[in-house]
Structure formats: C-alpha cells, structure tokens
C-alpha cells in the first residue's frame, strides 16, 4: 500500500494551469523530495496533498483512504512551513498543543505528546517562551514539533530550511535525516536546493512547469538524467553541454573525434546530431588521464579556487569546458593542462527533444 497517492491531479488558478495530470505514488516511510526551480508548482502540489487548496480535478489518497474532500486536519498529515508560521501570541507549549486542543484530546494525552516532541527536538527549556524570543533554528524546531505532536503518518515540509543561514541549514538537515530514521514515517519535502534534495531523499521528483520530469533515487538522477533539463539542474557546478554528431568513427565535436565505446545507451545509439553533456568532475585530470579513452591538452583560461577543489574554465573543440581539479594542484591561469574524456561518463541527448539517448 502506498502512503500517499496522487492520481491525475489538476490544479488551475483561474485560467492558469499550474498542475496538469500529475501522478505520483509515495511509499510507506519514504523520504520524497520535490525539487524544482521557483514557481514550478512544488508548493502547490504540497498544498493539494495537505488539502489547503481546492483541487480542480483528480484524487488524493493517504494511507489508502480517499481524502480528496477532507479537511487538512482530518487527513493525517503534519506540515512545516518556510516562514515557521508559529502563533506569535502563544507560548511554545501553546503552539505545540493548539492542534491537539482543537481535536479535543484529553489534557493528560496532550501533555504526554508535547513532552515527547519537546524531548525529541530538545526544546524542553523553551516551552514557556513566546516565538519572538526564539532564534530561527529554534523556531523551526518548534514548527517541526507542531507536526510531530499530531502523531501522523505523513509529514509535509515546504522549504523548511530556506530562511536559515548556511551553517544552521546544514546542521538541521542532518537532524531531519536522523528524525526520519527515528520516526520512520513518510516525508514529503519541498526544496529548490539540490544539496538538500541529494542528501535527504530516498527518491527525488524533479519538477518543471507543473510536470514531474524524473522520479528516481538521487544516484540515478545524478548518473542517468532523463533529459537535458534534469542534467543541467542537478550538479554543481553544472554540466558542460556541447553540440556533437555521432558518426561511424564515433562522436565528433567541432574538429575533434572521440570514441563512444562504453556509453550505455537506452537503445541503439543512432547516428546524427546530439547534445553531449559532461560533468566538470568527470573530466579526467592528473593521473586519471592515463586510463582515459581520449586525451588532449587545454589551456586554463580562468580559475575559481574553492579550497577542496578548483574549477577551471577552458576551451575545448570550440566549446566552453569547465572542469574540476583537486584544490591542492598548483596551477596558474594560462597554463596547459592534460585532460581525458570517457564516453561512459558522458550523457547524450537528442538535439531536438533533449531526451536522453
């Protein structure tokens, strides 16, 4: 049984079609991340699952129950928002217990659940404070706690870490992952941050203009993106793209021809124009060049040192090529570097449909 099933979901705002015929099944205990650029409909989808938006068409199932017409509070979900959305005039305790009081739970039960959530999230010393007296990280913990006390099977997160600074975001990310391990409930997590998506997700759904482009494990999405958009979206620095042509002798880019042996095509690799993608970290440098199928030299035009590694901007076969080298390499701008390319770490896309070949 799926934990959450969205069937043929359609949502219009007036005449604007935001989601069209969207289908997705989320497994029990899965951590699913909805990833996409701003405005692609991630929050809209989450709000539809939560019941905060009236959908135009389709059905939503949670735990096998059709909840399409049910109120958010009846759906068995908890939700955490980007702006925390804590009730400013209530103490932390009041915030945590508000939903339980609305559900008319006995006072003893409420106290037990609040105490448990406070313990899990380590916010016991804050229970009497008002939200205004909390830091951003503490507020987000309380917001998570408010979902936790509901004792539900499905958690919905809408960019919960976006308002926090980088360090805190990294810390809370790990805590969220641990929380998921501990609770083992289903989590649907919206973000536009690919690092969050890659680190947290069991599966990632990449969305674009209201459609799911690819729904796969982070590893699969990184290694076998289904189209150029996904390939470009995932990975930082992003993938290099070049125009090429597959012919009898292999792949021709500009005046360079390379072998395509080792490329795992979906079907048989047909001859014709293709878009070639290669990630900066998959351009071989240093000792790795020895084993590469194709070797050449490029000039480092510009360097972007980032400590652990250095991003090199160069020209290759009439295209811009970014490549990533170990940060300990002593290289200078204008210096020649030896690089190697392998077809197995390349991605070929149809030059018209931009689908993976």
């Amino acid at each position: 049984m799926h934990s959450v099933s969205v069937k043929d979901l359609k949502l219009n705002f007036g005449s604007v079609e935001v989601l069209q015929d969207l289908n997705i099944d989320i497994n029990d205990g899965e951590f699913l991340v909805l990833l996409g650029s701003s405005g692609c409909g991630k929050s809209t989808l989450l709000n539809c699952i939560a019941g905060l938006l009236d959908i135009t068409d389709g059905q939503i199932y949670i735990k096998g129950r059709n909840v399409t017409w049910e109120e958010p509070s009846q759906r068995g979900i908890g939700m955490v928002f980007q702006s925390y959305a804590l009730y400013p005039q209530m103490s932390v305790e009041g915030n945590l217990s508000f939903g339980l009081k609305n559900a008319k739970l006995p006072a003893a039960e409420i106290a037990t659940r609040v105490a448990r959530a406070a313990e899990i999230l380590q916010i016991e010393p804050l229970l009497k404070r008002k939200p205004a007296a909390l830091s951003g990280g503490q507020r987000q913990r309380v917001a998570i706690g408010r979902a936790l006390v509901r004792d539900v099977d499905v958690f919905l997160f809408d960019e919960p870490l976006s308002n926090l600074d980088a360090k805190l975001r990294a810390d809370l990310r790990v805590e969220l992952k641990q929380l998921h391990r501990q609770l083992e409930n289903t989590m649907i997590y919206v973000t536009h941050d690919q690092v969050e998506a890659m680190t947290l997700a069991d599966r990632i759904a990449i969305m674009r203009a209201g459609k799911i482009q690819q729904l796969d494990s982070p590893n699969e999405i990184y290694n076998r993106p289904v189209n150029k958009y996904v390939a470009d979206f995932i990975g930082s620095p992003s993938m290099n793209f070049m125009n090429g042509k597959i012919g009898a002798k292999g792949l021709t880019i500009g005046d360079v021809t390379l072998p395509v042996d080792g490329y795992k095509a979906a079907g048989k690799l047909a001859k014709g124009n293709v878009i070639v993608g290669i990630r900066p970290e998959h351009v071989a440098t240093g000792n790795d060049v020895r084993d590469a199928a194709y070797k050449t030299k490029v000039v480092a035009d510009l360097l972007e040192p980032m400590g652990a590694d250095t991003l090199v901007w160069a020209q290759f076969a009439g295209h811009e090529l970014r490549l990533r080298m170990d940060g300990q390499n002593k290289i200078e701008e204008g210096q020649e570097i030896e690089i190697g390319l392998n077809a197995e770490s390349m991605h070929f896309f149809d030059h018209k449909t931009e689908e993976r070949l």
Binding site: N47, E71, S73, G78, Y84, L86, Q89, G99, A103, A132
Partner: protein, 305 residues
C-alpha cells in the same frame, strides 16, 4: 606658522572617534524650532482663551480682556456647565448628554469593531464568490456623503421601530463606520503571512477558531486604531445625534449646542467655555491614553513569530 597650523588640523582629524559631536546651535535648527513654536502658539491660543475664560467670574469676563489671566479663579462655571446649565427643555447641564453619549458610544464601538473585524478577516483570507465586488462596494461606501442617506435612514428606522431610540443611533454609527473599519482590518490581516492560516487549518481550527484564537490576539495595534477612530468619530457626531434621537436621549454634542444657544438674558461665556472643554475631554483623553497603547501595540505587533 603655516605648517604648525596644519599639524594641529591633522591631529584633530586623527582624534575623530565615536559619535560625531552635535552642534548646540545651528541655523536650520533655529528655523525649525521657531516655526514649530509659532505654530504651536497659534493652535494653542484658542485653548488658552477658553481655559482662562472658563475660570473667570462673569463680571470679569465682561471687562472683555480675553487674554488676561483670571484675577480670582472660580470653578463655578464648570459646576454649572456640568450640572445645572439650562437648555430650552431641562436644567441639568451636560451630565445628561454625557451619559447619553456613553450609552451610544460603548455599544457602537463594540458592535462596529466586532463586525468589521469579521468582515475584514473574511475578505482577506476566504476568497468567496463576489468578494471583490463586495470590497469595491465597501470602498465606495466610504466616500458617500452622509447627507444623502439621512432621510432614507429615518424611514428605515421608523419602519423597524427604532427611530428615536438610542439603539437606532447605535446601528447607524456601526453601519457608517463599517467601510473604513473593514478596510482597516482587511489590510491588516492581509499583511499577515498566509502560512499562519494554513498552519491553523492543519491544526484543525475553523473559520471562527482562526479568527478568535490566532488572529485577534495579534491584532491589538489595529484594534486600538479602530477604537480611536470610532470613539472620536462617534463622540464628536452631531448630525446623526440630532436627527435620530429624541431630546431626552440627545448626545453630549447636541446638549452642548442647546446649552450654548439658549440664552436667558446675557450670554454666560465662562459657562459655555467650560461646557465645550468638558465635551471635548473624552476624545482628548482617548488620544493621550491610546497614543501610548498604540505605540506599544505596534511594537508588539512588529515582532513576527
């Protein structure tokens, strides 16, 4: 010599540290303060005349020197204005009008704010059919001159049997306050994050639960603004009071007018001045008291949770 002076200048430039010292006197400050002082005197002069006149005896008022301080201070005019001044109908001063005004004011303020907050809340968060049209009509309502509706309302009140009743006037005040108060609440609620409402819905709060338990507790600043608007507006009202109530329930402003305008022999300027000040006291107190609350309310509201 020259080089010596430069050295001194350099040292003083190097000493610059911390807040820049403020000049005690400068031309712009002088212009600003003298203008403000003059304007303040201009606006305070009438108040001064009223206060000193109200504390003079009639023989002294007759001397005609309006700016002079009273030679012999008396509170007799104040007592008379409050308790025994006569209108054409009765001789119990402003006190009758004061209590009538209170009876009109309290229910009007409570009713109008209660209804307007619900209106504003519904318009801000619950996108129902025709919400925009309703809002436009409300906005339009804020600009209709009162005089146009004076007589139709008389007829309506007569038909529902409230003409001349204090409650009739309460309803009229509440209705006329509705456009601007609804606008006020709608805009305030619209400025709150929508996610707050969403969170409350997930927590199982309904239409009223969200309003009463989540929104109103954080609406102190706007409620204070609404109270100021309504108290001053309703207390100062003369037109509706004289049209929609009977003489025995006339509000204070109408009573004041009747006291000032009914003359038996000579005009008692000291009593009239005292009566006017007493009548204006309520809005004045509201400004002073709520001004402080207002700032505190805004400060409290500014801290977003």
């Amino acid at each position: 010599m020259n080089s010596g002076r430069d050295a001194v200048a350099d040292i003083s430039a190097d000493m610059a540290r911390g807040p820049r010292p403020k000049k005690a006197f400068s031309l712009p400050n002088f212009v600003i303060y003298s203008t403000l002082t003059l304007l303040a005197m201009y606006y305070l002069a009438p108040l001064y005349v009223m206060i000193v006149t109200s504390l003079k005896t009639m023989p002294e008022v007759r001397l005609g020197n309006v700016f002079s301080l009273p030679r012999e201070i008396t509170i007799e005019p104040w007592i008379k204005a409050w308790a025994t001044a006569c209108t054409g109908l009765n001789c119990d001063g402003l006190s009758r009008g004061f209590w009538n005004s209170v009876q009109i004011l309290v229910p009007s303020v409570v009713l109008s704010i209660a209804v307007a907050s619900v209106n504003g809340y519904a318009l801000a968060f619950w996108r129902f059919k025709g919400a925009n049209i309703l809002f436009t009509i409300l906005l339009f309502g804020a600009f209709i001159p009162y005089q146009v509706m004076l007589y139709p309302i008389v007829m309506i009140l007569r038909d529902i049997g409230l003409y001349g009743d204090v409650w009739g006037l309460v309803i009229v005040h509440s209705i006329f306050g509705m456009p601007i108060l609804t606008l006020l609440f709608r805009n305030y609620f619209s400025s709150l994050p929508l996610e707050l409402i969403k969170a409350a819905r997930v927590d199982g709060a309904g239409f009223w639960g969200i309003l009463i338990r989540v929104l109103l507790p954080m609406s102190a600043p706007i409620v204070v603004v609404a109270i100021i608007l309504q108290v001053t507006g309703i207390w100062n009202d003369f037109l509706f009071g004289v049209v929609y109530t009977r003489p025995d329930s006339y509000p204070m402003t109408v009573q004041l007018n009747n006291i000032v305008n009914s003359t038996f022999g000579e005009k008692e300027y000291n009593v009239n001045m005292a009566a006017t000040i007493i009548t204006g006291l309520v809005p004045l107190v509201v400004y002073f008291v709520s001004g402080k609350l207002f700032v505190r309310g805004i400060a409290a509201g500014a801290v977003k949770g």
